[in-house]
Symmetry: C2
Subunit: 285 residues, 2 copies
Amino acid sequence: MFKKITIIGVGLIGGSIGLAIRKRKLAREVVGVFRHAQTAKRALRCKAVDKATMDMKEGVEGADLIIIASPVHSIPGLARYAIRFADKGAIITDAGSTKSWIVSDIDKAIGRSKAVSFVGSHPMAGSEHTGVEFARPDLLEGSPCIVTKTSRTNKAALAKVAKFWKSLGARVEIMDPAEHDKSVALISHLPHIVAFSLAGCVPEGAMRYAAEGFKDTTRVASSDADLWADIFFSNKKEVLRSARIFSDFYWRLVSMLSKGDSRGVRKCLRAIKAKRDRSVNGPKR
Amino acid sequence: MFKKITIIGVGLIGGSIGLAIRKRKLAREVVGVFRHAQTAKRALRCKAVDKATMDMKEGVEGADLIIIASPVHSIPGLARYAIRFADKGAIITDAGSTKSWIVSDIDKAIGRSKAVSFVGSHPMAGSEHTGVEFARPDLLEGSPCIVTKTSRTNKAALAKVAKFWKSLGARVEIMDPAEHDKSVALISHLPHIVAFSLAGCVPEGAMRYAAEGFKDTTRVASSDADLWADIFFSNKKEVLRSARIFSDFYWRLVSMLSKGDSRGVRKCLRAIKAKRDRSVNGPKR
């Protein structure tokens, strides 16, 4: 499918993408671009890439697909850097958790040039762990992957990027970056804020009584703090909007409890369970 | 260890206790007391009990340990009923998620009589599932189990109940019922309120993009709605107190985000992650 795929940022996500490409033989060569020799060594040891380089020019030249899988705040900068060395016709995509500002910034960098195309992506997989050591070739299998489309998106590149993620086993959805940021604020960024707050408000002494419920509900609060701070700030408007939606719902439920409205609480909890069972635990995923 | 252990209410928890007792041969006989013939059949099919009965008298007579593992609201009533038929010297315990009102009600029912002893217990295990089909003999292994002690608690009975839970693999902690309700409101009831609210506030349409983070954070929102409504109401004061603690923390974090206080957010998230990693993910559990 591809001659050379270059992955910039080979951590949990980038590494899993590399492993999946290599396993499924979707490219003749998978090259990783690194900032630190130590990370390059680890990625080679995990067989996440065929070749590692610290040189952007060397990494990007000859690549027909360039995937930027670094922390969100660094994506536009790395894209601008990669564009300078990218072959004519190369497609650039990313794996960032927020899309509006990444897509508009990179679209601006490309400008009217038709030399390279950019298509924003957000493979929605991962865990609370970071680092290539946790990468798995099946990480994306069955996971949602949102691919963005704007008035500037090259259609052929969009189709190719969508097909690429599908071939890694992801369930691809195409949408507008703003729509992405709104949905993902609710379904991904908000759960992180909530989990961090829950783990934050419980005194450490009480945590010795933590059973599976607490552990699961707060699992993502063991995620990398700076990575998530960046994500929250990069999608601040929608995160704040989601935060208010959650708080309103929460206080409606807590108020019913406070007023002793047993019927109201039961009706509310039953509806939530039914909705979650249908959507998340449903048979067809 | 015991001649006959009677379990009143053989669902996920009661069934797991039955399986564990039988596996570890802690009693010559495990008898289940049921309200419905259908549930009795299912428990026998799962081998959670040796014998099933719909008759409280038959179930309780001759038992040296009686465990009430039914939904919280029914525990005091079933205890009062069981006491009428219990042998002299029998120990009664329960598996309810709330302790103050259960313990004080049953202590009152026993009164000054020394015929039977009651010791409140809360094995903190379970899942979002209900029913004996999900019972597992290892459900309690490594889980916290709180055993309550009041001025009325018979010391020998307390020691025996604590030893019993330990022999099922649980990590036993002895505390005052009020202290239990306060800690458990934070570590167990609050996560359920939060998870229900999170699953409640996200539109069903957005749930198709749910990745592992959302699934884990809301897993317990697929728990039985009425069972949890009962638990919340039975520990209402402490649940409301915990709800305010969470909301205060949540809004402190969201406000920092809103003000663009990057240093504050980072510092806060890092501290939370470190605390959770130490306490929940720590090597020594």
